[in-house]
Protein backbone atom coordinates (compact mmCIF):
# COMPACT_ATOMS: atom_id res chain seq x y z
CA UNK A 1 0.00 0.00 0.00
CA UNK A 2 1.45 3.35 -0.98
CA UNK A 3 1.51 5.91 1.80
CA UNK A 4 2.57 9.55 1.88
CA UNK A 5 3.98 11.50 4.77
CA UNK A 6 1.19 12.23 7.25
CA UNK A 7 -1.21 9.57 6.03
CA UNK A 8 -3.06 7.40 8.55
CA UNK A 9 -1.44 4.00 8.79
CA UNK A 10 -3.51 1.11 7.43
CA UNK A 11 -5.56 -0.79 9.98
CA UNK A 12 -3.82 -4.09 9.41
CA UNK A 13 -0.40 -2.73 10.23
CA UNK A 14 1.45 -2.82 13.55
CA UNK A 15 3.03 0.23 15.18
CA UNK A 16 5.98 -0.36 17.47
CA UNK A 17 8.40 1.76 19.47
CA UNK A 18 11.91 0.87 20.50
CA UNK A 19 12.44 0.76 24.26
CA UNK A 20 15.87 1.89 25.38
CA UNK A 21 15.65 1.32 29.14
CA UNK A 22 14.93 -2.13 30.50
CA UNK A 23 12.83 -0.83 33.39
CA UNK A 24 10.27 0.69 31.03
CA UNK A 25 8.93 -2.81 30.43
CA UNK A 26 8.02 -4.76 33.51
CA UNK A 27 6.53 -8.23 33.46
CA UNK A 28 4.97 -7.75 30.05
CA UNK A 29 3.59 -4.31 30.84
CA UNK A 30 4.60 -0.84 29.75
CA UNK A 31 5.67 1.17 32.79
CA UNK A 32 4.05 4.62 32.85
CA UNK A 33 7.51 6.20 33.13
CA UNK A 34 8.09 5.19 29.50
CA UNK A 35 5.83 8.09 28.50
CA UNK A 36 7.38 10.84 30.65
CA UNK A 37 9.13 13.99 29.50
CA UNK A 38 9.44 14.37 25.74
CA UNK A 39 8.47 10.80 24.89
CA UNK A 40 5.19 12.37 23.78
CA UNK A 41 6.14 15.67 22.21
CA UNK A 42 4.74 18.43 20.03
CA UNK A 43 5.19 17.87 16.30
CA UNK A 44 7.59 20.12 14.46
CA UNK A 45 5.79 23.37 13.48
CA UNK A 46 7.25 23.19 9.95
CA UNK A 47 5.37 19.97 9.34
CA UNK A 48 2.00 21.58 10.15
CA UNK A 49 0.58 18.31 11.40
CA UNK A 50 -3.14 18.10 12.18
CA UNK A 51 -2.39 16.34 15.48
CA UNK A 52 -1.24 17.89 18.78
CA UNK A 53 1.34 15.46 20.18
CA UNK A 54 3.24 12.48 18.85
CA UNK A 55 5.36 9.57 20.03
CA UNK A 56 7.93 8.11 17.64
CA UNK A 57 7.76 4.57 16.40
CA UNK A 58 7.81 2.46 13.25
CA UNK A 59 5.48 0.50 11.02
CA UNK A 60 5.94 -3.24 10.97
CA UNK A 61 5.06 -3.46 7.27
CA UNK A 62 7.98 -1.21 6.35
CA UNK A 63 10.56 -2.23 8.90
CA UNK A 64 11.58 -5.49 7.24
CA UNK A 65 12.35 -8.73 8.99
CA UNK A 66 12.73 -9.19 12.72
CA UNK A 67 16.49 -9.25 12.14
CA UNK A 68 16.22 -5.88 10.36
CA UNK A 69 14.16 -4.53 13.26
CA UNK A 70 16.68 -5.73 15.82
CA UNK A 71 19.55 -4.31 13.78
CA UNK A 72 17.82 -0.91 13.44
CA UNK A 73 17.01 -0.87 17.15
CA UNK A 74 20.61 -1.58 18.08
CA UNK A 75 21.71 1.16 15.69
CA UNK A 76 19.28 3.59 17.33
CA UNK A 77 20.65 2.74 20.76
CA UNK A 78 24.21 3.21 19.53
CA UNK A 79 23.67 6.48 17.69
CA UNK A 80 20.46 8.45 18.26
CA UNK A 81 20.37 7.56 21.92
CA UNK A 82 23.88 8.73 22.62
CA UNK A 83 25.63 5.43 22.50
CA UNK A 84 25.03 3.96 25.94
CA UNK A 85 21.55 2.48 25.61
CA UNK A 86 20.42 -1.07 25.37
CA UNK A 87 17.69 -2.28 23.10
CA UNK A 88 15.33 -3.63 25.75
CA UNK A 89 12.20 -4.44 23.79
CA UNK A 90 9.30 -2.85 21.99
CA UNK A 91 5.99 -1.26 22.84
CA UNK A 92 3.46 -2.12 20.18
CA UNK A 93 -0.18 -1.98 19.10
CA UNK A 94 -2.24 -2.90 16.09
CA UNK A 95 -3.09 0.26 14.22
CA UNK A 96 -6.79 -0.46 14.57
CA UNK A 97 -6.40 -0.94 18.33
CA UNK A 98 -4.52 2.35 18.64
CA UNK A 99 -7.56 4.39 17.60
CA UNK A 100 -8.72 5.39 21.04
CA UNK A 101 -10.15 8.29 22.93
CA UNK A 102 -9.29 9.48 26.41
CA UNK A 103 -12.34 10.94 28.10
CA UNK A 104 -13.41 13.78 25.79
CA UNK A 105 -9.93 15.26 25.80
CA UNK A 106 -8.00 13.56 23.03
CA UNK A 107 -8.01 10.83 20.42
CA UNK A 108 -5.12 8.68 19.30
CA UNK A 109 -4.13 7.14 15.96
CA UNK A 110 -1.07 6.02 14.02
CA UNK A 111 0.26 8.18 11.18
CA UNK A 112 3.00 7.40 8.72
CA UNK A 113 5.81 9.96 9.14
CA UNK A 114 8.87 8.71 7.25
CA UNK A 115 12.26 10.25 7.99
CA UNK A 116 15.32 10.16 5.80
CA UNK A 117 17.19 7.86 8.19
CA UNK A 118 14.07 5.77 8.85
CA UNK A 119 11.60 5.23 6.00
CA UNK A 120 9.45 3.08 8.31
CA UNK A 121 8.97 5.89 10.84
CA UNK A 122 5.42 6.40 12.13
CA UNK A 123 3.99 8.25 15.09
CA UNK A 124 1.43 7.42 17.69
CA UNK A 125 -0.49 10.68 17.42
CA UNK A 126 -2.66 12.54 19.90
CA UNK A 127 -5.28 14.95 18.64
CA UNK A 128 -6.22 17.26 21.47
CA UNK A 129 -4.12 17.44 24.62
CA UNK A 130 -4.27 17.92 28.36
CA UNK A 131 -5.34 21.37 29.45
CA UNK A 132 -2.40 23.33 30.85
CA UNK A 133 -0.59 20.04 31.43
CA UNK A 134 -2.38 19.85 34.79
CA UNK A 135 -0.99 17.22 37.15
CA UNK A 136 -4.37 15.66 37.71
CA UNK A 137 -5.15 15.23 34.02
CA UNK A 138 -1.68 13.91 33.35
CA UNK A 139 -2.09 11.42 36.18
CA UNK A 140 -5.41 10.18 34.81
CA UNK A 141 -3.89 10.04 31.34
CA UNK A 142 -0.94 7.98 32.62
CA UNK A 143 -3.36 5.54 34.23
CA UNK A 144 -5.36 5.28 31.03
CA UNK A 145 -2.42 4.91 28.64
CA UNK A 146 -0.69 2.30 30.76
CA UNK A 147 -3.22 -0.34 29.73
CA UNK A 148 -3.49 0.46 26.06
CA UNK A 149 -0.24 -0.74 24.54
CA UNK A 150 1.53 -4.07 24.63
CA UNK A 151 5.11 -4.89 25.53
CA UNK A 152 7.69 -7.37 24.31
CA UNK A 153 11.00 -7.77 26.11
CA UNK A 154 14.30 -8.15 24.30
CA UNK A 155 16.07 -10.46 24.13
CA UNK A 156 13.61 -13.30 24.09
CA UNK A 157 10.25 -12.03 22.92
CA UNK A 158 10.73 -10.06 19.71
CA UNK A 159 9.56 -13.02 17.64
CA UNK A 160 6.09 -12.44 19.13
CA UNK A 161 5.82 -9.13 17.27
CA UNK A 162 2.94 -9.74 14.86
CA UNK A 163 3.30 -9.29 11.12
CA UNK A 164 1.31 -6.59 9.39
CA UNK A 165 -1.82 -7.95 7.78
CA UNK A 166 -2.44 -5.79 4.74
CA UNK A 167 -4.59 -6.52 1.70
CA UNK A 168 -2.64 -7.32 -1.45
CA UNK A 169 -2.12 -4.37 -3.75
CA UNK A 170 -3.81 -4.42 -7.14
CA UNK A 171 -3.76 -1.86 -9.94
CA UNK A 172 -7.40 -1.01 -9.20
CA UNK A 173 -6.80 -0.56 -5.47
CA UNK A 174 -3.82 1.71 -6.18
CA UNK A 175 -5.87 3.80 -8.61
CA UNK A 176 -8.73 4.02 -6.11
CA UNK A 177 -6.34 5.03 -3.35
CA UNK A 178 -4.75 7.68 -5.58
CA UNK A 179 -8.18 9.12 -6.42
CA UNK A 180 -9.17 9.16 -2.75
CA UNK A 181 -5.97 10.94 -1.80
CA UNK A 182 -6.55 13.57 -4.49
CA UNK A 183 -10.05 14.19 -3.19
CA UNK A 184 -8.81 14.53 0.38
CA UNK A 185 -6.07 16.98 -0.65
CA UNK A 186 -8.52 19.07 -2.66
CA UNK A 187 -10.94 19.17 0.28
CA UNK A 188 -8.10 20.16 2.63
CA UNK A 189 -7.02 22.94 0.25
CA UNK A 190 -10.55 24.33 0.21
CA UNK A 191 -10.97 24.22 3.99
CA UNK A 192 -7.73 26.12 4.72
Amino acid sequence: MSLSDGDPAPDGDIWFRIVTHQDHLRRGRVHHSAWGGNAISEPSPEKARPWTREASGRLRSRAGSLENIEHAANDFCRTAAGGSKTFSGVIYARVTDAKLSFESILTTAIHFTPLSPDPAHADLTFTGWLANESKEERARFNMWLSDKLLALHHPGQLFHLPDACLPPETATSRLKEFAMRCIVRICQAFTR
Binding site: H21, D23, H32, G36, G37, G82, A139, M143
Partner: protein
Protein backbone atom coordinates in the same frame (compact mmCIF):
# COMPACT_ATOMS: atom_id res chain seq x y z
CA UNK B 1 -13.91 7.71 72.25
CA UNK B 2 -11.55 5.86 69.99
CA UNK B 3 -12.67 7.90 67.01
CA UNK B 4 -11.94 11.17 68.68
CA UNK B 5 -8.47 10.00 69.66
CA UNK B 6 -7.76 8.96 66.09
CA UNK B 7 -9.02 12.24 64.74
CA UNK B 8 -6.88 14.22 67.11
CA UNK B 9 -3.77 12.37 66.06
CA UNK B 10 -4.71 12.66 62.40
CA UNK B 11 -5.07 16.39 62.57
CA UNK B 12 -1.68 16.86 64.09
CA UNK B 13 -0.02 14.87 61.36
CA UNK B 14 -1.78 15.91 58.22
CA UNK B 15 -1.24 19.63 58.29
CA UNK B 16 0.18 20.74 54.97
CA UNK B 17 -1.03 17.81 52.90
CA UNK B 18 -3.96 17.81 50.57
CA UNK B 19 -6.06 14.91 49.43
CA UNK B 20 -7.41 15.17 45.93
CA UNK B 21 -9.96 12.74 44.67
CA UNK B 22 -12.15 12.51 41.65
CA UNK B 23 -15.07 10.39 40.70
CA UNK B 24 -16.21 10.41 37.11
CA UNK B 25 -16.18 13.92 35.72
CA UNK B 26 -16.26 15.59 39.12
CA UNK B 27 -13.26 16.49 41.15
CA UNK B 28 -12.44 18.26 44.34
CA UNK B 29 -9.40 19.36 46.23
CA UNK B 30 -9.46 19.51 49.97
CA UNK B 31 -6.67 21.14 51.86
CA UNK B 32 -6.50 19.61 55.26
CA UNK B 33 -5.96 22.54 57.55
CA UNK B 34 -5.89 20.80 60.86
CA UNK B 35 -9.47 21.18 62.03
CA UNK B 36 -11.63 18.13 62.73
CA UNK B 37 -14.34 19.51 60.48
CA UNK B 38 -12.04 19.58 57.49
CA UNK B 39 -11.26 15.91 57.99
CA UNK B 40 -14.96 15.18 57.99
CA UNK B 41 -15.37 17.10 54.76
CA UNK B 42 -12.90 14.79 53.08
CA UNK B 43 -14.75 11.73 54.29
CA UNK B 44 -18.24 12.78 53.30
CA UNK B 45 -17.80 15.16 50.39
CA UNK B 46 -20.10 14.08 47.55
CA UNK B 47 -17.26 14.81 45.12
CA UNK B 48 -14.57 12.83 46.83
CA UNK B 49 -13.70 9.21 46.30
CA UNK B 50 -13.76 7.40 49.61
CA UNK B 51 -10.27 8.29 50.62
CA UNK B 52 -9.69 9.29 54.21
CA UNK B 53 -6.24 9.71 55.56
CA UNK B 54 -5.93 8.76 59.19
CA UNK B 55 -2.75 8.47 61.11
CA UNK B 56 -2.06 5.81 63.66
CA UNK B 57 0.01 6.88 66.61
CA UNK B 58 2.60 4.27 65.69
CA UNK B 59 2.95 2.70 62.26
CA UNK B 60 1.97 -0.96 62.15
CA UNK B 61 2.96 -1.71 58.55
CA UNK B 62 6.45 -2.74 57.61
CA UNK B 63 8.40 -1.09 54.85
CA UNK B 64 9.78 -2.60 51.66
CA UNK B 65 13.24 -4.09 51.79
CA UNK B 66 15.27 -1.14 50.55
CA UNK B 67 18.46 -3.03 49.64
CA UNK B 68 17.34 -4.27 46.23
CA UNK B 69 15.88 -0.90 45.34
CA UNK B 70 19.05 0.93 46.26
CA UNK B 71 20.88 -1.08 43.59
CA UNK B 72 18.28 -0.06 41.02
CA UNK B 73 18.58 3.58 42.02
CA UNK B 74 22.37 3.32 41.93
CA UNK B 75 22.09 2.25 38.30
CA UNK B 76 20.14 5.44 37.53
CA UNK B 77 23.14 7.57 38.48
CA UNK B 78 24.37 7.17 34.92
CA UNK B 79 21.20 8.89 33.67
CA UNK B 80 22.30 12.32 34.88
CA UNK B 81 22.42 13.76 31.36
CA UNK B 82 19.91 14.83 28.74
CA UNK B 83 18.58 12.37 26.21
CA UNK B 84 19.55 9.30 28.21
CA UNK B 85 16.70 7.43 26.49
CA UNK B 86 17.14 8.65 22.92
CA UNK B 87 13.80 10.45 23.18
CA UNK B 88 15.13 13.71 24.62
CA UNK B 89 14.71 12.83 28.30
CA UNK B 90 15.55 15.17 31.16
CA UNK B 91 18.43 14.09 33.45
CA UNK B 92 17.78 12.06 36.57
CA UNK B 93 19.59 14.32 39.02
CA UNK B 94 21.51 13.28 42.14
CA UNK B 95 19.01 15.34 44.17
CA UNK B 96 16.08 13.30 42.84
CA UNK B 97 17.95 10.06 43.49
CA UNK B 98 18.78 11.09 47.06
CA UNK B 99 15.13 11.92 47.66
CA UNK B 100 13.97 8.64 46.12
CA UNK B 101 16.31 6.71 48.42
CA UNK B 102 14.88 8.45 51.48
CA UNK B 103 11.30 7.79 50.41
CA UNK B 104 11.92 4.16 49.51
CA UNK B 105 13.37 3.53 52.96
CA UNK B 106 9.98 4.35 54.46
CA UNK B 107 7.73 3.05 51.68
CA UNK B 108 5.16 0.57 53.07
CA UNK B 109 5.25 -2.99 51.72
CA UNK B 110 1.46 -3.27 51.78
CA UNK B 111 1.28 -4.05 48.07
CA UNK B 112 4.66 -5.71 47.73
CA UNK B 113 7.65 -4.30 45.93
CA UNK B 114 6.92 -1.68 43.25
CA UNK B 115 8.12 -1.70 39.66
CA UNK B 116 10.59 1.18 39.46
CA UNK B 117 11.57 3.03 36.30
CA UNK B 118 13.21 6.34 35.40
CA UNK B 119 11.03 8.80 33.53
CA UNK B 120 11.87 11.17 30.71
CA UNK B 121 10.71 14.11 32.83
CA UNK B 122 13.50 13.47 35.34
CA UNK B 123 11.33 11.72 37.89
CA UNK B 124 11.41 8.14 39.13
CA UNK B 125 8.15 6.26 38.80
CA UNK B 126 6.90 3.51 41.11
CA UNK B 127 4.06 1.26 40.01
CA UNK B 128 1.91 -1.28 41.76
CA UNK B 129 -0.57 -3.08 39.50
CA UNK B 130 -2.69 -5.46 41.53
CA UNK B 131 -4.57 -8.54 40.39
CA UNK B 132 -7.20 -8.47 43.10
CA UNK B 133 -8.60 -6.30 45.85
CA UNK B 134 -10.36 -2.98 45.50
CA UNK B 135 -7.23 -1.13 44.39
CA UNK B 136 -6.31 -1.72 40.74
CA UNK B 137 -3.29 0.54 40.16
CA UNK B 138 -1.16 2.81 42.29
CA UNK B 139 1.51 5.02 40.72
CA UNK B 140 3.89 7.14 42.76
CA UNK B 141 6.22 9.55 40.96
CA UNK B 142 9.23 10.85 42.85
CA UNK B 143 10.82 14.10 41.68
CA UNK B 144 12.13 15.94 39.86
CA UNK B 145 13.67 17.32 43.03
CA UNK B 146 11.95 16.88 46.39
CA UNK B 147 8.33 16.23 45.56
CA UNK B 148 6.20 13.15 45.10
CA UNK B 149 2.82 12.52 43.61
CA UNK B 150 0.75 9.40 44.27
CA UNK B 151 -2.31 8.58 42.19
CA UNK B 152 -4.46 5.53 41.94
CA UNK B 153 -7.42 3.84 40.33
CA UNK B 154 -9.72 1.61 42.26
CA UNK B 155 -11.26 -1.33 40.46
CA UNK B 156 -14.58 0.51 40.35
CA UNK B 157 -12.92 3.25 38.30
CA UNK B 158 -12.56 5.83 41.05
CA UNK B 159 -9.46 7.94 40.73
CA UNK B 160 -7.60 9.68 43.51
CA UNK B 161 -4.30 11.38 44.09
CA UNK B 162 -2.12 12.74 46.86
CA UNK B 163 0.87 15.02 46.32
CA UNK B 164 3.61 15.65 48.84
CA UNK B 165 6.84 17.58 49.13
CA UNK B 166 9.99 17.37 51.18
CA UNK B 167 10.78 14.82 53.82
CA UNK B 168 10.18 15.19 57.51
CA UNK B 169 9.06 13.17 60.50
CA UNK B 170 5.51 12.98 59.13
CA UNK B 171 6.32 11.68 55.65
CA UNK B 172 6.46 8.05 56.74
CA UNK B 173 3.13 8.39 58.57
CA UNK B 174 1.45 9.96 55.56
CA UNK B 175 2.63 7.13 53.29
CA UNK B 176 1.64 4.49 55.85
CA UNK B 177 -1.83 5.99 56.11
CA UNK B 178 -2.26 6.27 52.37
CA UNK B 179 -1.31 2.65 51.82
CA UNK B 180 -3.47 1.49 54.72
CA UNK B 181 -6.43 3.35 53.35
CA UNK B 182 -5.95 2.08 49.82
CA UNK B 183 -5.63 -1.48 51.05
CA UNK B 184 -8.75 -1.22 53.18
CA UNK B 185 -6.85 -2.49 56.20
CA UNK B 186 -8.95 -2.70 59.37
CA UNK B 187 -8.62 0.48 61.30
CA UNK B 188 -7.75 2.57 58.27
CA UNK B 189 -11.23 4.05 58.07
Amino acid sequence: MRISITAAISVSVLVGYSVISTSGAQSSTTQIDGSPSSLTSVAFSPYAAPVVIKIESSPTQSTIDPASFMLILDSYEQLNHRNWDGYDAEPITPETLRYARRLLRVMPDTFGPPDIAPSGDGSIGLEWVLDDGSLHKLFLDIGPSEEWHAYWNRRGGEFGRLPGTGFDSETEHVLQSLFADLSGLPGSR
